[in-house]
Symmetry: C2
Subunit: 216 residues, 2 copies
């Protein structure tokens, strides 16, 4: 199965972005595994405060968990870590390596996602060969306040302007996930709604159900 068939077949996405700092006294791996059991089908490893060696060790473990549950594994920012663990995908923000450079290094088989906070950024990403776009932030969040939130209308504009999948991120939880999907997105990415949940498995299950990616 080639990359595009795989992408289409795996949609819609219940997409988890990791953040070790909000796992409390639980290990990053136990939270991620519970989330996978609950129905997350994409995991993005995004950790900033660790040595490269530690990142490679952690990314390798999460990649393995993703294989076990048939989920897609993506590394945020760090092409070196992605190459080290042979990750099938990477996700790049506007302050990370440029998409053309990443494509030159990674080749055409690796899935590359790009964060975009406007129709223009999203269209540039598609034109440059992105495989999906992460539209952010859909709703205002306490952690990210660089740009004004897109809102459902802004998300819909991006979704309908692109042919590639658009994953919504920013302030999304199971209570608004159905509205976000109705705005044309191909999936929903969350951090705290699952990582910080008391029961990450149940949180993932309810979220996946709202998104429509639940199997059961």
């Amino acid at each position: 199965m080639d990359k595009n068939q795989f992408l289409q077949k795996s949609l819609p996405w219940t997409y988890l972005v990791t953040d070790r700092r909000i796992c409390g006294d639980r290990s990053l791996f136990s939270v991620v595994e519970k989330a996978l059991r609950g129905g997350v089908n994409v995991v993005q490893y995004r950790e900033k405060e660790a040595s490269t060696r530690q990142m490679i060790a952690e990314a390798g473990k999460i990649h393995e968990l993703c294989r076990k549950y048939g989920a897609l594994f993506i590394v945020n920012d760090r092409i070196d870590v992605a190459l080290a663990v042979k990750a099938p995908g990477v996700h790049l923000g506007q302050e990370d390596m440029s998409l053309p450079m990443a494509r030159r290094i990674l080749g055409s088989d690796v899935i590359i996602g790009i964060s975009a906070s406007s129709v223009e950024e999203a269209q540039t990403a598609e034109k440059d060969g992105a495989d999906y776009v992460g539209a952010s932030a859909v709703f205002a969040t306490p952690t990210k306040e660089e740009a004004p939130a897109l809102g459902l209308a802004g998300l819909a504009q991006i979704s309908y302007a692109l042919s590639i999948p658009v994953v919504a991120i920013g302030g999304i939880h199971r209570g608004n996930a159905a509205d976000v999907m109705a705005a044309g997105s191909s999936g929903v990415a969350v951090v705290s709604a699952v990582m910080a949940a008391e029961d990450p498995e149940e949180a993932a299950r309810l979220l996946a159900k709202a998104i429509g990616s639940a199997e059961g």
Copy 2:
């Protein structure tokens, strides 16, 4: 000229490791260029607190400066940044990507240096295919205090145990550089002795003279 011929021909090394934080109100680039003019023949870009995009931009500029002055350019830790700017070399600490993994990703043409603080670490690096070893710390420094300093005797042990070049780092300046070279090292690496000098060009010139790498 193949990698090993190049390495041998460029020795001994007057090796500058960058640190933007000690440049004062001068730009990183102006300090590096002055150092190159003074006789530095290897520059290692080592910056931790920047976005990947900023690192790539800075590393690209310093690579260009190195080309202009015929110096070797090396990227610390970040294989992704090295690949992005096509750096001829990388330097890896014991908390960075492992040497075998880096070699698999970078191929045999890229120079890989490894930090070692014991004969055992240095021999492992040589056996795994390192092109040079950075022996650290030779003298105690206020910034790095993980392991006891090697001293000149410890440096000599590492130098004589290896066939590949050994570059000494840690607490070295023009006053002790000749002793360090006499202990068998193939070069000397400095950070503050040049980066924080009032006149980086003059500091580099005097250091290169003490090391024996000065051309004039």
